[in-house]
Point group: C2
């Protein structure tokens, strides 16, 4: 699947891993992984996906955009909930198939549809899940 | 694809999101997303994948195991590089398709095959990539 927005493809591994050209490696579904952490606390808030359009919109607006796989559409995080994620920094990994955003959530400061601040509100302990902030 | 190791499937959304039963939602390839941050600095070190076996091994040994999609095999991180990731905590997200591990990398303290401490060694700035630790 070709991305909807014109990001280039890295010509070789060296360019991919050490170049200064943003050349995201979208998967067969046209997606890369996106991790959002809180810019102030470092807490991982959520994990989601971006297509080329979502990444382009994120870079253009300074607010996190994802691709909703369940709704099959561009998802401007917070557009309805108010939990807009203002970008403090965005990084990409060695093989350019994952981004890490440091964000400041607006609105009530949360990120999860369950009402929790972070989606990762459960610790795995002795094989069971324990809720802990 | 059925997981190789016997994790249950959550019977409904409430159990998935609020239950205390670990019921990871593996994708069509049998994988869930795995984020590793440094337990002391909060830095995101890497993003990779786990199948049921990798998750079970991680929980059993207290050291991060992944599934290598390129090698199509279980990957005990650090087995050859020495960069074993000792688990300080492991969390799972609301819909149980992503885990967040707080780890302490052993060996030289790094996590990336490029030699960088974190795989996310480049910031996206004005559309270009800038290396920054």
């Amino acid at each position: 699947m070709r991305p909807m927005t014109g990001f280039p493809t890295a010509p070789d591994t060296h360019a991919l891993e050490h170049g200064d050209v943003l050349a995201p490696k979208f998967d067969a579904s046209g997606l890369i992984a996106a991790i959002a952490t809180h810019a102030d606390t470092g807490e991982v808030l959520m994990f989601a996906w971006m297509n080329a359009e979502a990444l382009a919109k994120t870079l253009e607006t300074g607010e996190a955009h994802y691709f909703s796989r369940s709704r099959n559409e561009l998802w401007h995080k917070g557009a309805t909930s108010g939990q807009v994620q203002k970008l403090a920094e965005i990084r990409i990994d060695c093989d350019q198939d994952a981004v890490w955003m440091k964000v400041r959530p607006q609105g009530d400061g949360g990120a999860c549809h369950t009402g929790a601040r972070s989606c990762f509100y459960r610790v795995i302990e002795n094989g069971r899940l324990v809720e802990r902030s």
